[in-house]
Symmetry: C2
């Protein structure tokens, strides 16, 4: 007997997103111990695959045993201390969350605000950093709440000139877009498994530059959060493999299989496929008379935000999609609640067929 209730859904929301059957199957592989030599091989394969999708040579690249938000908190709690000035480029829900975590961990948070859906220019970002002199800077590469993509190189360069570390939230972009963490100068990037990596939720990939690890090694007080302490995780995942927690073995099987599928497709081909699906999607919704929320050139290819037309009840549209076509999408958060639809075109659904199938159902649901 297996679980009988989950219906087949097409996950066109911001996440969790559609997963390939081979990834589900990988989780039926029997458990081995979390310090078994075979598991350590799986972990090493995952770490190597993550380096490729992050675009980094960072030794300290691993998966945190929690969901994407645990990755965010690991980035914050290890790299701010009570009194650290944390500068947050803020134009959406997830930037607000970073600021909130920063405050909880005792940082002096400087929140640079823009309307939700806008991005910061390079010069603008550099000026804010020079003016406020934060010790750590954070930005959201792909702001899932708005659909806007924030370029990172200008911010990272300015942060480094100011002696600050740069944290990038790549929760929605990793696996579907180029991250190029090293080339962009990102010190800490974190993500989740259930969006661009097409894997179930449960792990939070993270990568940390040598420069950031040196700063962590100089930190005097221990990180408050034992579970997310990167120094302890380094000793667990690297030799001497000192016991820390029990890694979620089945989730590592899933992530290793998802990364293999990505390798098999090829990273550049995968990014191109997402971009092409995005272009087809945008042309389709515009042909339906709908408007995108974010300006061209600033859009996240795999997470589209479409304005809710006047007079349309967006909750009713989402209910109809779920009930009639088994399709999940999401609505807006915060100031964008009721204003936008959030539509993920990712992984196995980022194809011409996937876009067309969605648009047909979307048109019917909009009435």
């Amino acid at each position: 007997m297996t679980v009988s209730y989950p219906p087949k859904r097409l996950l066109y929301g911001p996440g969790p997103t559609q997963v390939e059957p081979r990834v589900y199957n990988s989780m039926t592989q029997p458990l081995v111990g979390h310090l078994d030599p075979c598991f350590l091989e799986v972990v090493d394969e995952v770490r190597q695959g993550l380096r490729r999708v992050f675009g980094t040579a960072n030794e300290m690249t691993l998966a945190i045993s929690g969901t994407g938000s645990a990755g965010m908190e690991a980035a914050i709690c290890n790299f701010v201390e009570p009194g650290t000035r944390l500068g947050v480029f803020s134009a959406g829900y997830f930037a607000e969350r970073i600021a909130e975590m920063g405050r909880r961990h005792g940082a002096e948070v400087v929140q640079w605000q823009k309307p939700w859906g806008k991005v910061f220019g390079d010069d603008e970002g550099a000026e804010l950093i020079e003016r406020d002199k934060p010790g750590t800077v954070a930005f959201v590469h792909a702001e899932t709440s708005t659909g806007a993509m924030q370029p990172g190189k200008g911010i990272c360069d300015a942060a480094h000139r100011a002696g600050a570390l740069a944290i990038a939230d790549v929760v929605t972009s990793l696996g579907a877009n180029e991250i190029a963490a090293d080339a962009n100068g990102v010190d800490i990037a974190y993500s989740c498994t259930q969006k661009g990596l097409s894997c179930p939720p449960g792990l939070a990939p993270i990568t940390i530059s040598a420069r950031a690890m040196e700063r962590l090694d100089r930190r005097k007080d221990p990180v408050e959060v034992w579970y997310l302490d990167l120094k302890l995780l380094r000793e667990y995942y690297d030799a001497p493999h000192k016991y820390h927690h029990t890694a979620p073995v089945s989730m590592f099987y899933a992530l290793s299989e998802a990364l293999r599928a990505i390798e098999a497709e090829g990273l550049e081909g995968r990014w191109r496929r997402h971009l092409e699906a995005h272009e087809r999607f945008v042309a389709g919704v515009q042909a339906m008379g709908l408007q995108m929320h974010v300006a061209p050139g600033r859009r996240i290819p795999n997470l589209n935000t479409v304005r809710v037309p006047a007079g349309v009840d967006e909750r009713q549209v989402r209910s109809r999609l779920l009930e009639e076509d088994g399709i999940e999408i999401a609505g807006g958060l915060g100031p964008l609640a009721g204003q936008i639809f959030r539509i993920g075109i990712m992984g196995p659904l980022a194809t011409a067929e996937g876009v067309d199938h969605f648009l047909g159902a979307f048109g019917r649901a909009l009435g």
Copy 2:
């Protein structure tokens, strides 16, 4: 193609432990969104099943999206604040970890020490609490590092007389032993999925009394750890189901299936089966001339600690078991490293056949 490397192991260690095929299969069920009505039903089923294994009517019973150590940290960070006096009954590795987490979260930790493998008597526990007047008390019901079972009722009663909250670590006991959280007066109990519940690692069941939640509601400063903030988790898992993180959907499928298997067996029958397997195991190792580390009457039925005989290299024994029979067991931690074997007889392996198979292989490996 599926993952090809994990060999078939028999997991006779402290965890992860052997999982039933039906639980693995449940993870192949397709993902639904984490706020999908169907997923909310799965979550409610899991919460109801957890109440039964914890022996509680606590409304606030749920699964944290991390492994057992995340459950421990949730218990600590929500119920100690900077300056809280945290009293820890300490006679093993996991009690030390509780104390360490308490210090990190700013508690004034009072660690009541005993040699590893001993337990505290009711009067003794009450005297320590009366003397040191902690605001929160923690004990480890089943100390996985030593094999000793610490009774909890006396501690909880004394804690309540002193106005303190009582935290119980039931990481190894839940699912294989009676917890009776309400009858014992436990305020906060947390566990993992990969030991007595016979499920893969990835979630941390936790239950919190109304009394403890009231204290949390009166707390002024927010909990430092956003990811483990029980007030936010309450709003996510209860109505209005306000978005917090993305729950690891596949792990919830697994846990719901594992709990169904436990229901199908019946709780009392399951506890009895583990006790009988334990008795058979103890008789067997004693017949081989080996000694148990913990005194009779104080032993954890599903996690046995056996003294390493003089002249035996325990690492070699463990390697031989792994290589020749695919059997995993664990060695000791801290002061017990090299001194004991830690042998879990749990879940599908807690049968006469499971014990006999292990003892045969163990005898050969000991040479």
